[in-house]
């Protein structure tokens, strides 16, 4: 099937339109970050760097950022371990319930976030667990497992088990084979799964609000609160722009380690 010149032109136009839609809010944000006025009217009257200084000196932002980084690091570590274990079991063994596992691992991310949030919160409060950074991490790890699992499983399906068998035949014990053969094969899948899990955790707000309790704030929680206080908006603009710029890093890393970039954020 060949596309006529007209069809191609229309497709090009539609693509440009969708891209314009996708980037409109990002461009608007970049402009407002330098807006000198506290009032967010269009167009900004004059520009300044003052809000960048204020943002970097705000102790609440620093504390929220630290919490977010801690939560994302620990949740990603837990997800890497659990996701790899589950994917090894599903790819290398045949057992009853093998297909069910994929379905249940997908649930925390396929069910609406508000459900995971209220279910976890209700459970924590029922058993008297204090809400805080620890409970945030448990929630994040639960939905991060599936992204590591899917990435590693897809890789393991392409790695033939014969390499592991060969290693065993050459006299390597199970641990050595795992370390030298299996890990080497799934290395980049672990990196892209880990990146994805980290990004997901760092950005999460819907479940986080439920599991955070009163005293703990992550960066998205700080933004959510600050958005609703007109006084803080100039600083929010700056934090928002910095976050958008930072989000280029995982996309770049993912495109470096895998030729198939689209696979990087697919579940």
């Amino acid at each position: 099937m060949t596309e006529t010149r007209l069809v191609k032109a229309l497709l090009r136009l539609a693509t440009a339109g969708v891209l314009a839609f996708l980037y409109l809010p990002i461009v608007v944000l970049a402009i407002y970050a330098f807006n000198s006025s506290r009032i967010q009217a269009w167009p900004p009257s004059s520009f300044t760097l003052q809000w960048f200084v204020e943002a970097s000196n705000n102790p609440l932002i620093i504390r929220a950022l630290t919490n977010s980084l801690i939560a994302a690091t620990i949740a990603t570590t837990v997800a890497l371990v659990l996701g790899t274990l589950a994917s090894l079991a599903v790819s290398r063994y045949d057992f009853f319930g093998r297909y069910t596992i994929s379905f249940f691992l997908l649930l925390p991310i396929a069910l609406p976030g508000v459900i995971s949030g209220i279910a976890l919160r209700t459970t924590f409060t029922t058993f008297g667990v204090d809400l805080g950074l620890m409970t945030i991490i448990i929630g994040h790890a639960t939905f991060c497992v599936v992204v590591v699992y899917n990435n590693v499983l897809a890789r393991l399906r392409r790695l033939p088990p014969s390499a592991e068998e060969a290693s065993a035949d050459l006299g390597a014990d199970s641990f050595t084979t795992f370390r030298r053969v299996t890990m080497a094969g799934i290395g980049t899948a672990l990196v892209s799964g880990g990146l994805l899990a980290f990004g997901l955790s760092f950005d999460e707000i819907i479940v986080t609000i439920f599991t955070a309790g009163a005293g703990t704030q992550t960066l998205p929680m700080w933004i959510y609160a600050a958005i609703q206080r007109p006084n803080e908006l100039p600083v929010v603009n700056v934090v928002a722009l910095v976050l958008v710029v930072i989000s280029v890093i995982p996309v770049y890393l993912a495109s470096r380690i895998s030729s198939d970039v689209a696979g990087a954020r697919q579940l």
Binding site: L10, L22, Y93, S116, T122, T123, D173
Partner: protein, 304 residues
């Protein structure tokens, strides 16, 4: 893979250590190995997630102390369900949420098909790579940042207001429910584009040639061959657009006045009326489980 070559010398041919003995002992017991692999992930999922869902379910059937607002465990009651069924506000919100979720899904599918088709079948390989990155960057940009940016675009004296002023029109402000539809469609669009793009890319060229050889015109080939083959990918993308809309309470709160299912659950969650929140949660859970089961039958899981 750049692992150093594995030679017999490098393979711990040194002392027959305890670790090595443990390794071979384990090697002979595949069932034990399997259990060791599964124990932690399945245990975590069962306790932290399925266990939590079960406790949520129990709470839906428990009574609430009308004075303190606390749930009274094992004091069985159907009051929450009666409230939901008798007060029309809860059906209105449910219908509204599901309608917006359907509209968002359709909007995203319509926007995703042309760009995904262009990426997969018209663009040069270099252009394709750039476009994938161009779709991924807004996807990775922080969720709240994107919602916030729409807020400043839509609000009074914002970009939309200024753009409409020459025509004597006014922007929507921050109360219209259409804002939720617009912003949620924006937020989840990349989640639709990526699987649909992969779906278009998977269609072998020979199938399209065969269709043309058999006399089908381009439009017929697109309708009868391409669309059915890409349909599972559309369903895969729709899992995200639909479920993410169904469970969102922050976007509706920030850009409109219209409450969603998620707002009811959130507003009632603390010590306000937990049984009601829990009972109302069963609705999106039921919808999503049914959706996932249908999606699996349509072959969408292979396209995730």
């Amino acid at each position: 893979m750049s692992a150093p070559p594995i030679t017999p010398e490098s393979m711990d041919a040194r002392p027959r250590s305890a670790r090595r003995r443990a390794g071979s002992w384990l090697h002979q017991r595949p069932k034990l190995r399997l259990r060791a692999l599964l124990a932690a992930p399945v245990g975590w999922l069962a306790i932290a997630y399925l266990g939590s869902l079960f406790i949520l379910l129990l709470n839906a059937f428990w009574a609430q102390d009308s004075f303190t607002g606390r749930v009274e465990p094992f004091n069985w009651s159907l009051e929450a369900f009666q409230t939901i069924l008798t007060n029309p506000v809860y059906s209105v919100i449910a219908i509204r949420t599901v309608t917006v979720a359907v509209l968002v899904t359709i909007t995203d599918a319509l926007l995703a098909i042309p760009i995904a088709y262009y990426m997969a079948r018209v663009a040069s390989p270099r252009m394709r790579g750039l476009l994938v990155v161009a779709v991924l960057i807004p996807l990775w940009a922080a969720y709240l940042v994107k919602v916030y940016s729409w807020r400043i675009i839509l609000q009074g004296n914002g970009l939309v207001d200024v753009a409409l002023a020459p025509f004597g029109l006014e922007g929507p402000g921050l109360s219209e429910i259409a804002n939720s539809w617009l912003v949620l469609s924006y937020l989840w669009l990349p989640y639709m584009i990526l699987p649909v793009y992969a779906g278009f890319e998977r269609i072998p060229h020979s199938v399209l040639e065969a269709s043309a050889d058999l006399g089908a015109r381009s439009l017929t080939t697109f309708r009868r061959i391409v669309m059915p083959l890409v349909f599972p990918a559309l369903v895969a993308g729709s899992i995200f657009t639909f479920s993410l809309t169904l469970g969102d309470y922050i976007t509706p709160d920030l850009v409109s006045d219209a409450k969603f299912i998620g707002n009811v659950i959130y507003d009632n969650s603390a010590n306000v009326n937990l049984p009601l929140a829990a009972a109302y949660s069963l609705l999106p859970i039921g919808i999503m489980v049914a959706y996932l089961l249908v999606a699996r039958r349509l072959g969408a899981f292979e396209s995730l």
